[in-house]
């Protein structure tokens, strides 16, 4: 009896051990490339599922809250305030491994991703969410002259350029050169361009008001140049008009129907579309910021090629209603890299809420598939858009409220604050951002306007006398 019982117990133990082994062997391996909104939310959603093993690959060791990047570029926040280490976010997910690495190739037959260090990662399901970078419509030579805003390094470089421009103007006695230093051009009037231009207007009128002795920062010219005929072209026309008025109140000169034709190190050439005619114009400036046009990441292009899919003009990859690639149900593409079709043939917009929804959807779809169920198609829930322009001003378009949801000024600004605080990852970051914002609001200051990296002071044509 005792002997039998012992033998039975032993078998049970052995079976359990086997099943742990089996389970490990049979765990569904999900590889996620890219730790932006889409990739991170997918990882979080998959992180508690014992039937799944997750590997998140990113070139960076942190998740970046990109919607607030322009605040780093304009000295209101520090990089550390809007970035959180991926390992810290996912540390409690025992089924998840984070790999700091650059994915360079996809081998779809072997179902594996190749990293730049020669390592490989095998997958059962692959999620590609490597996003987009800013693009210059084929004029890559403009990149060093007009930096865009996608990474922390971009943001600190833009911050450096803005601050150095005022410093150079303060030192420069030659009036023409001084005017060049005090002219700031933002190209592209989408949300990022509008937010940047609004912040530049505030810096000139408010933040730096009493900081200089030879120049009046309020004399700075901030131009927002847009090829289309209105700012925030994806918003309702009424809100575009309101945004324009709010920008002008901050001293920003808005130039719509104005296309950039050339950029060099002392200014830009633009073509201004009038009634039936076009005339060209030169704007002298030393600081040009690029907020027009994005291009899919290079790994995205390699994935499309490996899978034999044709991308659209911006390099984005078309996906089916379940966000998989046609003919490759094991590859999902999310976020800015994907062209998912929404209702009425419209593509899902390249915004953070869409990426978050896609990430969560992808995780749920994979879990369903692992359980042997078929996933529902992805449905984008468009909750609306909100952009901030400056102190107490902004525009919001909350779709489900219809016309009532189209708001300007103070209410839009408040909505924007709330939404951005709620979605910011990391509790300490949230508190720090609230404090910095409250402090900036009360003092009209921007505490983190540091010129980092080697200062590289610009050559001054005619230094003004300091004695």
């Amino acid at each position: 009896m005792v002997g039998q019982a012992l033998a039975a117990a032993e078998t049970r133990i052995r079976l359990q051990t086997n099943s742990v082994e089996d389970e490990k062997q049979s765990r569904h391996r999900v590889v996620i490339v890219g730790g932006g909104f889409a990739g991170l939310y997918a990882a979080r959603e998959l992180g508690k599922d014992a039937a799944i093993e997750v590997t998140l690959v990113d070139r960076r060791n942190y998740h970046l809250f990109q919607p607030l990047l322009y605040q780093v570029a304009t000295g209101a926040l520090s990089p550390g305030d809007i970035a959180q280490p991926l390992r810290a976010i996912l540390r409690r997910n025992c089924n998840t491994r984070v790999v700091l690495g650059e994915a360079v190739a996809l081998e779809p037959a072997a179902r594996r991703v190749v990293l730049s260090d020669g390592g490989t990662v095998e997958y059962d399901t692959l999620i590609v969410a490597t996003g987009a970078r800013h693009a210059y419509f084929g004029r890559d030579e403009w990149a060093p002259l007009a930096p865009g805003l996608k990474t922390i390094e971009d943001a600190t470089e833009i911050r450096r350029r803005i601050l150095i421009a005022y410093e150079a103007a303060e030192r420069e006695a030659d009036p023409a050169r001084r005017a060049e230093w005090m002219t700031f051009v933002v190209v592209g009037a989408g949300p990022t361009g509008v937010e940047l231009a609004g912040a530049l207007g505030e810096i000139a009128r408010d933040t730096l008001r009493r900081d200089f002795r030879s120049i009046r920062p309020a004399d700075a010219r901030v131009l927002l140049v847009e090829a289309l005929d209105r700012v925030l072209p994806t918003y309702p026309e009424k809100l575009s008009q309101s945004a324009r008025r709010q920008l002008e109140r901050l001293g920003v000169t808005v130039r719509t129907s104005t296309k950039v034709t050339a950029i060099d190190d002392s200014g830009i050439d633009v073509a201004v579309r009038g009634e039936g005619s076009e005339r060209s114009e030169r704007i002298s400036t030393r600081t040009i910021l690029w907020a027009a046009g994005v291009q899919a990441s290079s790994f995205g292009g390699r994935v499309a090629e490996a899978l034999g899919v044709t991308t659209n003009r911006a390099g984005r990859v078309p996906v089916d209603s379940d966000l998989t690639v046609d003919g490759h149900p094991e590859v999902m593409i999310l976020g800015d890299l994907a062209v998912a079709i929404w209702s009425g043939g419209k593509p899902v917009p390249g915004v953070a809420p869409a990426a978050i929804q896609e990430g969560i959807y992808a995780a749920k779809a994979i879990r369903r598939r692992v359980r042997g169920e078929a996933p529902q198609p992805f449905r984008y829930r468009d909750r609306g858009d909100v952009a901030v322009i400056g102190r107490l001003s902004g525009v919001a378009d909350i779709r489900w409220l219809g016309r009532l949801g189209q708001r300007s000024g103070f209410i839009a600004w408040g909505m924007w604050l709330g939404v951005h605080i709620v979605y910011l990852i990391g509790f300490a970051n949230r508190l720090v951002v609230i404090i910095r914002w409250a402090w900036s609001f009360l003092t009209h200051g921007r505490g983190t306007r540091l010129i980092t990296g080697e200062p590289h002071l610009p050559p001054i044509k005619q230094p003004n006398r300091l004695d």
Copy 2:
């Protein structure tokens, strides 16, 4: 009567106007080179005096709170938390002008400073407070292999190296290489070295505990190498012993009487002094941090040369009891650049409180001289030293309390917190630092451990399999 009164009033007005002009002409021009503790506190003290005109020249646009720089290097704080724009600090001082520029030469006969952009600044009194950089005892080839910690760029570079080392260890399957990545060596056991080593111990045991899947961060080795026979050599012996025990409790291996003889990219060679003998040893490591030895700034050397003064071995400039250079009562040298003699022939130490006292003293001495009075000699008030080692631990030596003021552990740690919060400039920064510290304390986390700059992933000899 009325006519007479009017004429008298007019004369009075004219006299006033003249006196404003005269005053402007006769204002005493103080030029301060360097916006560290000494320069900044001098500028602040002079900022309200209408008889004086101040020009503060710095290569950087911010004041850096250097005592907390090691916290940026170890991911506890963001650069923006411990730096404040000089213009913002001094904006209310209407007699003060801030110049972003690099002082490259001194012309003592013409009483002017030459800037790198060709501009010049004339002075009646010059304050030179350009501080010191870390130095390699003539082995400058060690600089890229063992970065020191003086600037924000140094701090983010050190942070990058520490974090990349763990990432590389996680990816590396070769045991010898993995051990190299997981060995951290700090050279020099002064306050910075002790604080760095303590933080590295905490990162290994605490912060990263659950972050990795292939390695156990607690297996990391942290070595603190010091040529002298104890850590914190400027502290009382009892506190050195206590500091050593506290470091060892954090898992730090303390190697005193151990001198670095060579550094290459896979380790360091040391000479260990035993009883009458010396033996050499090799430590394999990929991460070496330099916290030994400082050297006066290069502008300091040029000033000494222009004034015909002989500097000491570290390039520091000897000054008289009123902090002026012998034979040049119009040139004051402050902070880490100066060798001021204190009581009993001891030099004033190169610490922040000394620099602050010297800055305030210099300003008061100048104001006295402008009023035609002779300044008192500088008297350094040594309030004591405090260094933090880790969570709830540190050492403090509060001199005026005598033996009672020699404290270890919790009390020293609390003193350190208080002092550093009080002296940190910028109210928002203070709040933000308090929040980050409180959050780190509660969660054992370090929120700002970002690898910024291009990631430059290290080559992995044998990438471990990820599938």
